[in-house]
């Protein structure tokens, strides 16, 4: 099973990038859908707890495609992370790992740092702020901004929409500042 072993290796950016890019025309061909993942969060809210909020009262059944797309992401995570479990540790740059080590974060090929993202370590105020506070801002901010990395970053930029350009520059700048200046304060 040569191909199986090849697929288990970390995929280089020049393979992964084009596949990710192709999801834009594929979704258009499959039914005129614009790639966008944060919309699924609104969709789940509208389906499960609409609470008479006007923004959550729309014909979500017409948008049910994005629940299937999100289901695919879950399935893809299972296939990629369990069935095609990586055999080698993806190489993160030494500079990053050293910086993180100084903040008490170790790396052994894991996707999430166990010092922050694990059931036993979650209940410190710093970790709750990172996981719950950060997660909250991802949901709040993407809806406020009308999209996330996929909707603005990939779909919006590739269809030359300037509002998406504004969004990408700002969320990227804000991410840089947060990762470099706020996160270290919380991890010290």
């Amino acid at each position: 099973m040569e191909i199986f072993n090849v697929l288990r290796q970390p995929w280089p950016w020049y393979i992964a990038g084009p596949i990710i890019g192709l999801s834009v025309p594929l979704l258009l061909l499959a039914g005129n859908k614009m790639l966008g993942i944060s919309g699924t969060l609104r969709q789940v809210c509208a389906m499960c707890f609409p609470a008479n909020i006007p923004f959550l009262k729309y014909k979500w059944k017409d948008q049910i495609w994005n629940i299937f797309f999100a289901g695919g992401l879950l399935l893809g995570g299972f296939i990629g992370g369990v069935l095609l479990k990586p055999v080698t540790i993806p190489p993160i740059s030494d500079a990053t790992l050293n910086d993180l080590k100084l903040m008490g974060i170790s790396y052994e090929g894991n996707i999430l740092p166990t010092e922050i993202f694990s059931w036993i370590h979650l209940l410190t105020w710093q970790n709750l702020l990172i996981v719950v506070g950060g997660g909250f801002l991802v949901g709040f901010g993407t809806r406020y901004a009308g999209g996330c990395t996929s909707g603005h970053g990939i779909a919006g930029l590739s269809t030359l929409q300037w509002p998406s350009f504004v969004a990408v520059v700002l969320f990227f700048a804000s991410g840089i500042l947060t990762a470099n200046f706020i996160l270290p304060l919380l991890l010290k």
């Binding site: 993942i37 809210c45 299937f68 992401l73 993806p90 993160i92 509002p163 998406s164």
Partner: protein, 136 residues
């Protein structure tokens, strides 16, 4: 049947994000610190691939599988794009995840990411509730 197609595209997207390490908190920290090329390489190939594909779909007037013309909705700017993006960036920097990777993380067996997802859902809900009172 149609929805199966969306599931399939999502699956391909999810496998790719995982195998390219784009769901890794460590990879995001590397990107935000400009210490590695992987994430930049992904964006710099994904966006032109998507742009070229869309250009070709339009140029050759290719129809959807239902025979409809391809339609690309124009996004209309409002100030929410500015405030929202700044807030999202803080969340992205902390959790190392945008919405797509959270689903992929859960699928790969990281149950703790369910907390990230529930928090994001709470964020979306609170935004929806406050929307009429927020500046846009």
């Amino acid at each position: 049947m149609r929805n199966f197609l969306f599931l399939l595209i999502g699956t391909l997207f999810g496998i790719t994000l995982l195998k390219a390490d784009a769901v890794s908190w460590f990879r995001m920290q590397e990107m935000f610190r400009f210490q590695g090329f992987q994430m930049f390489g992904i964006f710099m190939t994904a966006i032109p691939t998507a742009a070229l594909s869309v250009f070709l779909l339009k140029k050759y007037k290719i129809k959807t599988i239902d025979g409809e013309p391809i339609q690309i909705l124009k996004k209309k700017f409002n100030w929410g794009y500015v405030y929202g993006s700044l807030l999202f960036g803080i969340g992205w920097g902390l959790t190392g995840a945008c919405p797509g990777p959270v689903y992929v993380q859960i699928g790969s067996g990281l149950t703790i990411a369910i907390i990230t997802l529930l928090s994001a859902l709470a964020g979306t809900w609170v935004y929806s509730y406050l929307k009429p009172r927020l500046p846009h």
